[in-house]
Symmetry: C2
Subunit: 111 residues, 2 copies
DNA sequence: TTTACATATTCCTATATAGGAATCTATAGT
DNA sequence: ACTATAGATTCCTATATAGGAATATGTAAA
């Protein structure tokens, strides 16, 4: 079997760096495709394809304005990613604590 | 060009669901490959391959115990993912606020 | 040193890109 | 009705899987 489709879920969709950059760029305000192309210095068809993937998984919303399409990040759709990463917070605190302890024991020995 | 390698960064590595499940499973305690195979109901070679990807990006650590290999999640390596997702927190709060406002305006009209 | 057990690696195949080029579609202006 | 502009879609290709089967490697026990 091949890798899961990029548009099968948000994890696969944001695996591509350009798509993360697009989400960053569209987070605060809506922007046209042309503005994204200029900001990313990326070919227009590539941007359109990335936007389709992001649309398919609900990470961006679109509305038409004349002949331009205005895209905007749908931040809420990133919650599952944030939530998953967050479940590991407790463990990395533990890890840092262990590092600290070791450093402190070393200090003790010096004395 | 094809998709970036799964082992090119943590975002690509965790795009695969099985690999996320493995990270969940190895978060609290170290486990042998056999235990992972049993827990995931996944073929042993597949698990070994997933573990290699996770090792390559630093998401798991290994140590040998006799003829078993004990793996454990290196939670700290997930921080960049958490941090990136977190930058959108402010935006989804704004979104939820807008939804709330709309609901409240509706309530007002009813009266 | 055989034998058994635990993992890792190799080989194979179907599939899904990402990017570039070319083309199609839709809307606005004249 | 034309023409120009903004985006979307299609076609093409090199590349990287994920999973299954078979095999190799490494360690422990008899």
């Amino acid at each position: 079997m091949a890798r899961a489709a990029t548009s099968s879920d948000i994890f696969n969709a944001v695996a591509e760096e350009q798509r993360r950059t697009i989400l960053d760029f569209l987070a605060a305000d809506e922007r046209s495709v042309g503005e994204i192309v200029e900001a990313l210095e990326c070919a227009q068809p590539s941007v359109s394809k990335h936007l389709k993937v992001l649309r398919d998984v609900g990470l961006v919303r679109v509305r038409r304005d004349g002949r331009r399409m205005l895209y905007r990040t749908n931040a809420v759709a990133l919650k599952p990613l944030h939530h998953w990463a967050r479940t590991f917070e407790q463990y990395w605190h533990q890890q840092l604590d262990r590092v600290k302890e070791r450093a402190e024991r070393k200090e003790e020995k010096k004395k």
